[in-house]
């Protein structure tokens, strides 16, 4: 889950990284009050989760009250890449001597945490890495070993940073690594990390992404991306659901299987109304809710249930489907391909209700069958 800049800054401060003074406001009135402590000039920054806010006019400097009113008023409500700005962060204007970049993330190639640093701060770091890769230093950090301070100083030697700054910057990087591990981040970036005219090292922005699987132990309340009402309902039910625009709903007992089923539907000339992955460990209730969401999907003419009784079993899944048939009496065509643990019991529940079941056939055969039942029309 992405954090807002101001949330990331709070975490930085908690771990002892110096951040510039800032106040979060949600109205022009709040801004006028906040500026009394911050003073002019003040930087007005849109708090959004998407990137590219600078280019979209979401960052402005106000030199006086008139400008503060104008900028704050304009930025609040500004839509940046589809996201409406609900709050702005007022930031003290720092006298900058040098802009740096510091980040920690996972290297997808080997699963190791990697520390990144560049003296080309304040710019789009992905662009810097693409055009001048030599300007972004990287160091892998095996999580089983402590990170020694001298290693970081040694790592920074090649960056072109002035010698007297090495220990100060290294200290911030050490703290950033603590932030990364301690807050279960998948990304923790400071861009820019600045050297002030007074020689202090200060973070003036934050970009943090927390691992979704760790939110509970970090005591972070999940904040979901906006979606359709059905997408929200699915999330509440612990289901992975993506609403699409076709007419065959795909209900799979796993993500890969559901995606492959969608691919085959497309291959046979039809389109999917939705992708629904129940995940593992599904109960009767969860299966019933999954089916109900598929049946409620706009445009749906048929539902293909493609499931395996692995960690869950077919009897539980079959009972969930049977309950929906008994209680809701749906008219949309339903085809079930289901195999695995307790399959005979599961099949019987469906056959007793005249639901067609693909027992030993392949996914491809099931797809051909549902496309035949529903037709190819979008």
């Amino acid at each position: 889950m992405r954090l807002f800049e101001h949330e990331g800054r709070e975490i930085f401060a908690k771990y002892g990284i110096k951040v510039s003074a800032a106040v979060l406001v949600r109205s022009v009135e709040e801004a006028l009050k906040a500026v009394e402590t911050l003073g002019y000039p003040v930087v007005v920054k849109a708090q959004v989760l998407t990137g590219g806010r600078g280019k979209a006019g979401g960052v402005r400097i106000a030199a006086n009250q008139a400008e503060l009113i104008e900028h704050t008023g304009r930025i609040l409500g500004l839509v940046i890449q589809g996201e409406k700005t609900e709050s702005v962060l007022l930031n003290e204007k720092i006298e900058i001597a040098q802009e740096l970049y510091a980040g920690a993330t996972f290297d997808p190639q080997n699963g190791l945490p990697v520390l990144m640093f560049s003296t080309s701060g304040g710019m789009d770091i992905e662009e810097v890495a693409r055009t001048t890769p030599e300007k972004v230093l990287r160091m892998h950090l095996p999580p089983t070993q402590p990170v020694r301070g001298f290693r970081i100083v040694d790592f920074l030697r090649g960056s072109g940073l002035q010698a007297d700054l090495l220990p100060k910057v290294a200290q911030v990087l050490q703290k950033l690594i603590e932030v990364f591990h301690g807050s279960d981040a998948t990304t923790a970036e400071i861009n820019p990390l600045v050297i002030t005219r007074q020689g202090e090292v200060v973070a003036i922005d934050s970009k943090m992404v927390i691992d979704d699987s760790s939110l509970a132990r970090q005591q972070i309340v999940p904040r979901f991306e906006a979606g359709t009402p059905l997408e929200a309902r699915a999330r509440n039910g612990g289901l992975n659901y993506v609403q699409l625009e076709g007419n065959i709903a795909v209900l799979g007992s796993g993500a890969g299987l559901a995606m492959a089923t969608m691919d085959l539907i497309s291959h046979y000339g039809a389109t999917s109304a939705c992708f629904l992955d129940t995940g593992g460990g599904i109960s009767s209730e969860k299966m019933a809710e999954a089916l109900r969401i598929c049946l409620a999907t706009p445009g749906v003419k048929g539902v293909l249930v493609n499931a395996f009784g692995g960690i869950n079993n077919c009897e539980w899944m079959g009972r969930g489907i049977a309950n929906v048939i008994d209680e809701d009496k749906p008219t949309v065509k339903i085809l079930v391909k289901m195999r695995g643990h307790s399959q005979d019991e599961g099949w019987k529940l469906l056959e007793d209700r005249n639901i067609p079941v693909v027992k030993f056939g392949t996914t491809e055969e099931a797809v051909v069958q549902i496309v035949g039942l529903v037709g190819k029309g979008a």
């Binding site: 997808p108 992975n240 995940g279 960690i311 491809e364």
Partner: protein, 307 residues
């Protein structure tokens, strides 16, 4: 032969007294797995389905040898269980648990590398060598013994491809789900190396999906020359960009991780790329026929040379 596990593999179940633990104890015993012990701290001395329960892995090791362990515990407990197994010297650790924090996986993966232990998962169905044994939660009945090795990120696709191959009369040496998370223990390359060294595996089916770079890295490895035909399938050809498709690892972002880029890399590396299951089955049949003909030819030459 098969890879990683065989008929003699002694298996441990960590989390045996949970609801899933009890269920899968039964399923594993039904399949003929040599399930020698289970772990549940505080419940040592009891039994589940006739299998003795111990408090710790070291305690279990006082009573039996253990070759592999199945970790079937809640996500936040998986790290400690895996560390316990690794530090106790178990050489294969299969982590079934879904939603394991990525920092926990990264730690366990690194520790396993340092200790020479193989991790499968997390977020996996595990490993099965059909007709021999399984260290996993898959329904054994849909798999059958034979010459094809299967490696997939998705658990349910492993099932579906195993079942489809079985329906078509094509058996498998070993089927392995490497897991749906962005960081995982064994990756495609590690499994491909195992299959390369396994005499019984004649053809490998590799099943990827959108997101991440595992398939592209595997393609680079295949480019260096692989001794067996590899038939590839990538799920998510029709997935919309920017949407997370169930698995934490399955998202197309910023143009990377699309099925097209994976197919291109794999085709360039000499893999046979297939877009549907029927194409895949046809390719497997053809590759098996070619390998068989080559085998006969080699055998004939050997006989002619008096070997």
């Amino acid at each position: 032969m098969a890879i990683l596990i065989n008929r003699k593999t002694k298996v441990l179940l960590q989390g045996i007294t949970g609801k899933m633990g009890g269920l899968h104890t039964k399923y594993m015993l039904d399949y003929g797995v040599d399930l020698v012990a289970g772990i549940s701290p505080g419940k040592g001395g009891s039994k589940v389905g006739g299998v003795p329960v111990y408090n710790t892995v070291p305690e279990a090791l006082e009573h039996t040898a253990i070759d592999a362990t199945l970790v079937l515990v809640p996500p936040y407990a998986a790290k400690e269980c895996a560390i316990e197994a690794i530090e106790s010297g178990i050489k294969l650790v299969v982590v079934i648990s879904e939603f394991v924090p990525i920092h926990d996986t990264a730690y366990v993966k690194q520790l396993a590398i340092e200790r020479g232990v193989r991790i499968v998962g997390p977020n996996t169905i595990g490993v099965i060598s059909p007709g021999k044994t399984k260290v996993g939660i898959m329904p054994g009945s849909i798999y059958s013994p034979g010459p094809v090795g299967v490696v997939a990120r998705s658990g349910t696709l492993t099932h579906d491809i195993g079942a489809t191959l079985t329906e078509m009369g094509i058996g498998q040496t070993t089927c392995i789900g490497i897991g749906g998370d962005p960081i995982r223990g064994m990756d495609f390359i590690d499994v491909l190396k195992e299959f390369a060294a396994d005499d019984e595996t004649k053809v490998v089916v590799m099943v990827g999906e959108i997101g991440g770079t595992g398939e592209e890295l595997a393609a680079k490895y295949l480019e260096t020359g692989y001794p067996k035909p590899v038939i590839a399938f990538i799920a998510g050809q029709t997935a919309p960009a920017g949407k997370r498709m169930g698995h934490a690892g399955a998202i197309i972002s910023g143009g990377t991780g699309s099925s097209a880029s994976k197919y291109t890399a794999l085709a360039k590396a000499g893999a046979i790329v297939t877009k549907t299951f029927s194409e895949m089955i046809a390719a497997v049949r053809e590759a098996l026929a070619t390998e068989e003909a080559r085998g006969r030819q080699l055998l004939g030459k050997g006989r002619a040379a008096g070997i």
